[in-house]
């Protein structure tokens, strides 16, 4: 296996296009474990850590740009991720353990597209747009359309995810990523990513995604609409929760049965709303 460390995105894309068996190495939090377990055997590993274009968080008018190689730890402490974007920060601080948060990157995490991970649901709730770079240019992919199936994204083989764009709008939004897991640091059994705009108790904007209950984050426009314009009374949230519960398609695994995961969605949604209200 070859290891290369290009210093520009175009160089990386060129190597990737020239080798079908090459894989990009971001933080390595997942890929290295897969290599050790003989689950993948790439011909070339393209280390992305020396590419400046992929690093860091920048504010650009109505959007925040998070470079794909930004670590979970950097995202977790960045004070610019407020309002709508705070759901991503809240997710980042709850991923695994400090050592993994220091190594793992947002680009690596979402390209792996594990539906049990924290970022996919949070990015859908934040209405994020993912930037895919190819040799012929870039594509902007809404988070809702990026995650196709279990460990499958809409990224082409010769593309590299370069950044995550988080809209600052809607203004006045509050956010919460509620993670329920067996132990601290485990993958979520169920997670709720929630962005709300509350105006004197009434909800003028809502966007909810549920993680770990299907091959991709569960997001129903219908649920956002039930909540939007309501005063988020218990019955409204139960109705929204039931819709999510019915649409969820979880699997039975070591973290819980499908039946159990479905069962707790409405209660967790209520809790996410309560917690969000509490912190304002």
């Amino acid at each position: 296996m070859k290891y290369v460390e290009p210093t520009s995105l175009s160089e990386a894309l060129e190597i990737l296009a020239g080798d079908d068996e090459a894989r990009c190495l971001a933080g390595g939090a997942t890929l290295v474990a897969m290599l050790n377990a003989d689950l993948v055997e790439p011909s070339t590993l393209i280390g992305l850590r020396r590419i400046d274009e992929l690093a860091g968080i920048t504010a650009t008018g109505d959007q925040l740009r998070i470079g794909a190689m930004t670590t979970h730890a950097q995202i977790a402490v960045d004070g610019r991720l407020t309002g709508n974007a705070a759901v991503v920060r809240d997710a980042a601080r709850q991923i695994a353990h400090p050592a993994i948060r220091n190594m793992g990157t947002i680009g690596g995490a979402i390209c792996h597209a594990d539906p049990n991970a924290d970022f996919p649901g949070a990015l859908v709730a934040a209405n994020a747009v993912l930037v895919a770079a190819g040799q012929s240019g870039t594509r902007q992919i809404p988070a809702d359309e990026f995650f196709l199936d279990y460990l499958e994204t809409s990224l082409e083989e010769d593309e590299i995810l370069s950044a995550v764009m988080l809209p600052v709008e809607p203004s006045g939004a509050g956010a919460r990523h509620l993670k329920f897991s067996r132990t601290h640091g485990d993958y979520a059994t169920v997670s709720i990513s929630l962005v709300l705009v509350l105006d004197a108790g009434a909800c003028s904007y809502a966007r909810v995604a549920v993680g770990s209950v299907g091959p991709t984050p569960l997001h129903l426009t219908e649920v956002d609409e039930i909540l939007t314009g309501s005063d988020l009374a218990g019955e409204t949230i139960r109705q929204a929760g039931r819709k999510l519960m019915e649409a969820a398609d979880p699997v039975d695994d070591v973290r819980g049965s499908a039946e159990y995961r479905r069962m707790i969605i409405p209660g967790l949604l209520q809790r996410a709303v309560d917690e969000l209200r509490e912190v304002g």
């Binding site: 059994t189 070591v254 159990y260 707790i264 209660g267």
Partner: protein, 784 residues
């Protein structure tokens, strides 16, 4: 007051001091040498191929492609090895499966190659043709007539006990005392239930690892992560068909054991590879190999029925324990009897019958694991006591106090209680936890949670098997202690160093603790059964005392006085009492002994626990115990209280605070004792709440730390109160008893009882996962 007690009153202040670990600096700085850190010239690296199937006949094996791979130096399969069965009470296992595989993960082939990658590649080239057999994975099914037989030749294995008739049974034990069949008539309240306990993985930080090397004379040296060098030596010799005199075993630093590194791990196969290649070989397991190939705690089912009169006096108990022993017996023939023995709990129950089985299944081997059968039985009995208390309208602590064993009571089958401290443990934990206040008034829970508090009482033993110790006086007056005990992380090297330092009034750095090495250490069982401090500590102390007596003899001759007039002064000086100037350094004595009089000073002692009274066969029915339970040591007692919050939405349980009162006799090293208690509680927090090895049709589905979850720092209670009761045990070194296991016996029932108190739902199956708790809560609601 006995002479021993008087002696204890003047002990050196180092006894009881929280002395830092003697190996602390090297561990803290990352310089400690573990087995995998060892490299030998020309060393090869090994890997094992685990069976894909849980139960299958091996029809043919083709290793030609693996042997042809460049860099491969040896490929061994079962038929390449001597046909020497190994095992503790029943010799039923070979280092590599020969005709049949009996669990998924069972090693079927071993490769030694120039590096690990090559060895692992070679494993993939080995072709094995299997005839798949029906896997037996359920213990009750395994015992039924007509069940698929796992060991067809079971009755031909060398065995140290009487095998039951059922062909898949490893052992059957039955105890009976009083008249349990008619005693139910005297009971006003009877509770009856069934409990399920999981297979738990040891999860020592260091996976099993061995380096083996054969010299030109045919002697094998083995460096290995083990709980006992002599045990590894015995099994390695047995597997190779060598006398033990041809096997040397050395223990470097060990990264945890918890029972999983008792008896043997991968020593025999590594030594066989070294023999086959003529080169040193290292075999270190990956975590997944360790989880699928190595050992675990017995899961199982426990049926229990308990009756009491309405004033809360326990009258009768009936109990049936069926434990899953897995594919090979290992220590099962002693684990299920110990479970049966402790199904009484630390209470008087005059009429009692218990039967206990260990059963072969096509799952990985069950073995020793901290508590050794006791946590399983105690989960059932302590859960049941709370249900009984509820029906009687009694406080759970009061019910336990009313029935706690007292001085002069006899345990199940007639073994006398040496020191009855059960009530003291219950009272201490009750008062420290503000039990009455919390139980009566409750503490407000956080939003969405319900809070509860639960108690468990427990007893265990300390003292199995014999030990020896040598203390050698060096020419400069310092000493070397050699007892062959393996410190698996619990701190026994430091404890023994403190004991010798106290016996001779030496400073810690004047005592050299010699690493366990079968070439030089006294013969020794293993680090297990809460025995190190009590058993080995006795040998160590008495070997130190022996050196002191010899020093006194020399000093008396030089200073022309009686031994009785002599005293030790701190730092290696002997002097005449009341005469400050009359003093001799140990070095002077050592020099005299070496050059003039008597020869070098060596203190030595061997020790074995001897029961005060034997079990009384007239008092009870007792059969199927591989070791007599009266010989397994002195009793220890403890009581624990857990305060939990249960999440109303998810059913998840969080343990907020924990109180643990334990009779330790005497804490030789207070920080170490507290560390043992805290570690035992957090380990069993996992047993109670999250840890469970799972198999699908015999294949383990969670053999990784990602899928199998142990508690981390953030899951531990914010405070664990270790409450020590120090009533010196006369037969113990400075009064100290073992606490390594008993602290692990209580957490599962204490937490289950706290869950019941919080949400009114009884969880009969652990781990009490959020899903199980939520379902129990819903059932309790439906019942209301």
């Amino acid at each position: 007051m006995s002479a021993n007690m008087a002696d204890n009153m003047q002990v050196n202040p180092i006894i009881g001091a929280s002395v830092p670990r003697i190996e602390g600096p090297e561990k803290a700085s990352g310089r400690a040498i573990y087995t995998d850190d060892i490299t030998r010239p020309g060393m090869l690296h090994a890997a094992l191929l685990g069976s894909h199937y849980a139960h299958a006949r091996i029809l043919s094996v083709d290793t030609s492609a693996a042997r042809a791979l460049p860099g491969v130096k040896a490929v061994l399969v079962g038929t390449d090895l001597p046909h020497n069965y190994i095992g503790m009470f029943i010799k039923d296992q070979l280092p590599l499966a020969r005709d049949k595989v009996r669990y998924s993960g069972e090693p079927v082939a071993a490769v030694a190659a120039i590096d690990v990658q090559t060895a692992r590649r070679a494993l993939r080239l080995i072709e094995i043709e299997y005839e798949e057999l029906e896997p037996v994975t359920d213990i009750e099914e395994a015992l039924k007539p007509g069940a698929t037989v796992i060991h067809e030749q079971r009755d031909e294995y060398p065995t140290m006990y009487e095998l039951p008739r059922e062909p898949n049974a490893i052992c059957f034990t039955e105890f009976m005392e009083g008249d349990p069949s008619s005693a139910w008539d005297q009971c006003d309240v009877i509770v009856e239930d069934e409990y399920q306990v999981p297979a738990q993985y040891h999860m020592y930080m260091e996976p099993s690892s061995t380096v083996a090397e054969m010299d030109g004379n045919g002697k094998v040296t083995v460096w290995t992560s083990t709980q006992g060098v002599a045990r590894s030596q015995m099994y390695t010799a047995l597997a190779m068909g060598l006398p033990m005199s041809k096997v040397r075993v050395i223990a470097p630093r060990i990264g945890g054991g918890f029972g999983g590194k008792c008896e043997f791990t991968n020593q025999p196969i590594t030594a066989l590879l070294a023999q086959a290649t003529g080169r040193p070989v290292k075999l270190t397991f990956s975590r997944e190999d360790d989880m699928t190939m190595m050992k675990r705690r017995h899961g199982g089912r426990i049926y229990m029925k308990t009756g009491a009169t309405k004033d809360g006096t326990l009258v009768a108990r009936d109990c049936r324990i069926v434990l899953d022993g897995g594919a090979y017996a290992d220590e099962s023939p002693e684990v299920s009897p110990v479970a049966a023995f402790f199904s009484q709990g630390p209470y008087r129950i005059p009429n009692m019958r218990v039967e206990a089985w260990s059963v072969y299944t096509n799952l990985s081997r069950a073995s020793a694991f901290r508590g050794f059968g006791n946590p399983q039985a105690t989960f059932a009995s302590e859960s049941q006591l709370d249900d009984l208390a509820e029906q009687l309208g009694m406080d759970p602590v009061e019910l336990r106090l009313a029935n706690a064993l007292e001085q002069d009571d006899k345990f199940f089958c007639g073994k006398t209680i040496e020191k009855a401290t059960m009530k003291a443990c219950l009272e201490k934990v009750r008062d420290a936890s503000d039990w009455a206040g919390k139980r009566l008034h409750g503490t407000p829970a956080r939003p969405g949670k319900k809070r509860g508090i639960g108690v468990a009482g427990m007893s265990h033993i300390s003292g199995l098997a014999g030990a020896g110790a040598n203390v050698l006086l060096n020419e400069d007056g310092s000493v070397t202690l050699n007892c062959g005990a393996v410190d698996i992380g619990q701190g026994s090297d430091t404890i023994f160093t403190q004991i010798v330092a106290a016996a001779l009034a030496l400073d810690m750095d004047q005592v050299n603790f010699a690493a366990p090495d079968t070439d030089s250490s006294p013969y020794q069982f293993q680090t297990s059964a809460s025995r190190n401090t009590y058993v080995i500590g006795n040998a160590v102390k008495k070997a130190g005392d022996d050196v002191r007596e010899q020093i006194y003899r020399h000093a008396g001759e030089i200073l022309e006085c009686n031994s009785a007039d002599l005293e030790l002064r701190q730092g290696g000086v002997v002097g005449v009492k009341g005469v400050p100037d009359a003093a001799l350094p140990f070095a002077a004595i050592a020099g005299r002994a070496l050059w003039q009089e008597g020869g070098p000073i060596m203190g030595t002692h061997n020790w074995l626990y001897t029961p005060q009274d034997r079990m009384d066969p007239k008092r009870m029915l007792l059969r199927g115990f591989a070791l007599m339970p009266d010989a397994i040591g002195i009793f220890t007692f403890g009581a624990q209280v857990a305060e939990v919050e249960v999440d109303e939405v998810t059913g998840q349980v969080e343990v907020l605070e924990y109180w643990a009162a334990h009779d330790v006799g005497k804490a030789i090293n207070k920080a170490s004792v507290e560390g043992q208690i805290e570690g035992g509680i957090v380990q069993m927090l996992g047993y109670a709440l999250t840890e469970e090895m799972l198999w699908d049709n015999g294949r383990m589905i969670n053999p990784t730390m990602m899928d199998y979850k142990i508690p981390g720092m953030a899951d531990a209670p914010y405070k664990i109160h270790s409450l020590l009761i120090e009533e010196a045990e006369e037969s113990a070194p400075y009064g100290a008893k073992g606490v390594g296991e008993i602290c692990a016996v209580g957490p599962a029932p204490a937490i289950a009882n706290a869950i019941k108190n919080a949400v009114g739902a009884r969880v009969n199956q652990i781990p009490a996962t959020p899903e199980r708790v939520l379902k129990a809560m819903q059932s309790a609601d439906d019942a209301d």
